[in-house]
Symmetry: C2
Subunit: 283 residues, 2 copies
């Protein structure tokens, strides 16, 4: 993965140089434990020197709310970067999201709103993924689960920030998935019967998972995902959704975390009302 450069065979780096390289490697590998030896070899520096570099990075990240640098002691130990977002930063991202979603030109016939551009905006959705990663960082999840298509970008960015594999449930089964488990479920809002399926290979039995999706109205899809997870004997630790609707108040799933609440889409007044969720408000 990381080659040693000729440069280091001839001269060592100064701290201000080496620390740039160490910072880059940490950020590029969220949640991945990197041994101190890796850094000492790559930068031809003493362990104590690298340790000092890491304390500086730790301190700056802490002060600047740029995430956490965690040290794990022992032979199998090392250091890892945890891209936790600070509260202020989370609120700024959510405010930007609410502002974008409130744009009344998003209103589609039938009271739907167009949000595909937001979901596929990598810069914004990367930060949303980091918010979910921050929220779910201590649960010990092994997989992130989502539902194709629009759940994928958010879930992928959360999976990236948590360094976990993503598993995407499909709405139909494909020949390229091998043997699959399918279940029928009733969409909570339109009461239609749909099928969702997941490849047997995609998830081992008994895994600890977090479900992340883009939208929740009545919660029928989320309920279906919970049922499908039972078929894999998975333990669902939490559910995260980007947008939930205020109505219906009673969802088919009880425990979940939404980031924003779609209060109202008024086609006549040409108005969309979106607010930060109570989880965001109470941070």
């Amino acid at each position: 993965m990381f080659g040693r450069s000729v440069y280091f065979l001839t001269m060592k780096m100064r701290r201000s140089e080496r620390i740039v390289g160490v910072t880059k490697i940490l950020i590029d590998n969220p949640y991945k434990l990197i041994s101190l030896n890796y850094f000492t070899e790559r930068f031809e520096a003493a362990k104590s020197t690298i340790s000092e570099d890491l304390s500086i990075i730790k301190r700056v990240f802490n002060i600047e709310k740029m995430g956490k640098v965690e040290t794990v002691a022992g032979a199998a130990g090392g250091v890892r970067f945890i891209p936790n977002k600070g509260i202020k930063d989370i609120k700024l991202v959510i405010d930007e999201l609410c502002e974008k979603l409130s744009d009344s030109t998003r209103i589609l016939a039938g009271g739907y709103i167009y949000m595909t551009d937001i979901i596929f905006n990598p810069n914004l959705i990367d930060r949303v993924g980091e918010i979910f990663a921050t929220k779910f960082s201590d649960l010990g999840a092994e997989y992130i689960i989502t539902m194709e298509t629009k759940g994928i970008p958010i879930a992928l960015m959360a999976a990236r920030a948590l360094n976990l594999p993503l598993v995407s449930i499909r709405k139909s089964s494909k020949v390229t998935e091998g043997s699959v488990v399918s279940i029928n479920y009733v969409t909570g809002s339109s009461r239609k019967i749909e099928t969702m399926s997941l490849s047997r290979r995609a998830l081992p039995e008994g895994a600890k998972v977090i479900i992340i999706d883009d939208f929740m109205k009545a919660g029928g899809t989320a309920k279906g995902m919970l049922d499908l997870m039972k078929e894999f004997k998975a333990e669902v630790l939490d559910i995260g959704v980007l947008v939930e609707t205020a109505q219906p108040k009673e969802k088919l799933v009880k425990e979940y975390t939404a980031l924003v609440v779609l209060e109202d889409v008024d086609e006549i007044e040409d108005q969309i009302i979106v607010k930060p969720s109570s989880w965001v408000e109470n941070l």
Copy 2:
């Protein structure tokens, strides 16, 4: 987006501290032009000091093949991070990919191979996205286009690295997409007629785009995407695919860049042969 911390009201940072913060901000915002003023205000440092920090970062990234730091002169100028990958790094990623894909347990009935886990592995696919971003960095693209579902992760990571919006073509039209343009296309391998559609809102007319997808056999889907792009008067600058099959040799599209070639899937010998593409070999 970035709050100033109380810390800086009381004491300034040393170079080795400040440079950690500057590095983090650059990496978090690929291709985004950040003004020098932003850094001078955030870190309460003189312009000359920040310029020197940036030269150090530039030098280290250059030596360590960690990407480029580009300075744009003038009033609207600033600095931006371009996450270009070095040749050695590209080859390492492609070798890892070939090794993973060659695992014969991936063989499915009918000579298909299971690659969903690879496509949804954020750590690997992030690096694949950076390879495409490196390849396509100078084309002046405005959008990345892909096809749901399995194209999305790779295309999203490339879009992230290029700081471009992603537009995902759908296999069916949804009520939440508003008015859509649909076309029929013939899949090159199985000769089935399928429909793909894209929301009018998703892409302005005359945009410069790059298509990125996970797999190409005969190229029918890619051809369909080119046809759909004509409906939007888009200029397709290039096509990138993760895996192409060696057979059929003649594809329905002429210009594209594949990263790896699936030479053979032998169900009887229980063997998959995957090789780096000629583009990778010739780097």
